[in-house]
């Protein structure tokens, strides 16, 4: 049988001693438990090595790399910048549009292209629809982690309606190759605006329904309040982003603080965790930030649909993508998981010299050991679920 070697971390379990009720001293020892790559609740192939003392976690060591698909190597060997976009799609597969947009933004900044305004508005609409779809997956699977199966089914019904909108536009349900460098691959089909408006009116009461089912459910609140508290200074030091950062009370959203595209022309509010049922920065806060962000996304979509100008979405597609020799740029965008950054370096040829993808889930996952020490073993599932990792982005 094939045996791969993973060297154990140099951890020596610590012995301890407790006094039993009869006065004798019992020798105890820590235990190393493996929450292996195949596990129904790790949201993908993540291996957690948990060092526990009874039920209390002393340390968690995440082992990643089980989905390392060599994105950066492929990006260096593609014959064209445009060919990198399908690989960028597959990094964070739950929200593909935002990945493509981040890479296209990086290339457009290097080439100094101005995209038409219609393209900007359509990109915003697609990204916000994608944000809702991604948060529905996060919320649905988080419910399963806590033991609630029904919200998962309801979330996926709503998600199918969003995927119908995407399929109508570009033909694909999950991985689109839609946002191209300089524009889009297809313009919106004739019925898109009308159906999206219908979706917005349909979805708003569904958020309240999911809140009633899951978020304010007493069992869910008891399981997630005061669990996995992420303090503010730890969050900034570990460069957490997205709902992880905002759940800890820090008012930082890249769409407002490092703006790109037309987000500064639309009215919306970043949502912050306030510690309504427990400490600020616990799992419930991160969950409620995601739920409220879905509502804000609906506001953005409705405003963008109203302001959508006419134009040709393929007007600015460049014939040759060949940036200057020493052009290099780091571009960051706000994806549903946080700050996705692409550091692209060009050497004057048609293929990139170096593409580094800074995945938000990769950085957010490194906080996991800090926030789970002292928690119970059963809480670890919920803490790992509240980080909302997608292994394609962690491992790239």
């Amino acid at each position: 049988m094939i045996e791969a070697k993973t060297l154990p971390t140099n951890y020596v379990t610590k012995p301890g001693a407790i006094k039993s009720s009869s006065g004798k001293t019992l020798r105890t020892e820590e235990m190393i438990v493996n929450m292996g790559p195949q596990h129904p609740s790790t949201h993908g192939v993540l291996r957690l090595e948990i060092i526990i003392d009874g039920e209390i976690i002393n340390d968690v060591i995440p082992h990643i790399g089980y989905l390392h698909r060599c994105f950066e190597k492929h990006a260096e060997h593609m014959t064209n910048y445009q060919q990198v976009i399908p690989y960028a799609d597959r990094m964070d597969y739950c929200s593909a549009i935002t990945n493509e947009w981040a890479f296209a933004l990086a290339a457009e900044r290097m080439l100094k292209i101005e995209v038409p305004e219609r393209v900007e508005y359509i990109r915003v609409i697609m990204a916000e629809l994608q944000r809702i779809a991604s948060h529905l997956i996060a919320v649905g699977t988080y419910g399963i982690d806590a033991g609630a199966f029904t919200p998962f089914l309801y979330c996926f019904i709503d998600r199918e309606k969003i995927l119908d909108l995407f399929e109508m536009t570009c033909g694909a349900r999950l991985l689109y190759n839609y946002v191209w460098i300089g524009g889009l691959s297809h313009d919106l089909p004739p019925k898109f605006v009308e159906q999206t408006k219908e979706f917005c009116t349909y979805f708003r009461p569904r958020i309240k329904m999911i809140n009633d089912l899951l978020t304010y459910n007493e069992i869910f609140v008891k399981r997630t309040a005061n669990v996995g508290v992420l303090p503010k200074d730890v969050a900034i030091n570990y460069a957490a982003s997205g709902p992880m950062l905002r759940g800890s009370g820090i008012n930082w959203d890249l769409r407002r603080d490092d703006p790109y595209s037309v987000y500064d022309k639309l009215e919306w509010e970043p949502q912050i965790g306030k510690g309504e049922v427990g400490a600020v920065g616990d799992c419930w806060d991160r969950h409620i930030v995601r739920m409220r962000e879905m509502e804000q996304s609906l506001n953005i979509i409705e405003q963008a649909l109203a302001k959508l100008p006419e134009g040709n979405v393929q007007a600015a597609l460049p014939k040759r993508i060949r940036p200057d020799k020493d052009a290099e740029v780091y571009v960051r965008t706000e994806t549903p998981r946080g700050e996705l950054g692409f550091y692209v370096v060009s050497d004057g040829t048609a293929s990139p010299f170096r593409v580094k993808a800074r995945g938000p889930a990769f950085v957010n996952l490194s906080v996991l050991p800090e926030i789970s020490r002292g928690a119970m073993l059963a809480d670890l599932v919920l803490i790992a679920g509240s980080v909302d990792i997608v292994l394609g982005e962690v491992d790239r």
Partner: protein
Amino acid sequence: MALLHQRFENDNVFVVPFDKFLNWARLSSIWQMQFGLACCAIEMMAASASNFDIMRFGVIPRATPRQVDVMFVAGTVTIKMASRIKRLYDQMPEPRYVISMGSCANCGGPYWEHGYHVLKGVDRVIPVDVYVPGCPPRPEALLEGIIKLQDKIRKDSYLRKPAK
């Protein structure tokens, strides 16, 4: 019940070869192992949700390999993961089947050329029964894959071939 509906003529008795009966029972309740690796896992989850509903085929997700009939390898198999997949396959009790879902599990997918860490097809470590193409395959394609697996199980036989 659709198989038997209004098929009885006189008495409620029908005679069927034993292995056909056993095969019918087995193909109507194929239990799967929740084993999503990458993007295809999201389509597998969408297939088990309400719109496409894989449970009407009898496919129930189980968490442990000891209780399943089929393993959907949904997503890219990396070299680091390959030995774990082999171990999980060995833990499945026989008769066991593998459905390889998506291009990455079939042949390495879009990562075939420069993927130094991608295993070019899960059939390099375990035997595969049905290949479902697509990147990612639609949930309907996965359902067709299950139907093909059901056809394969329908033809299974327990009797050894007579000695020559």
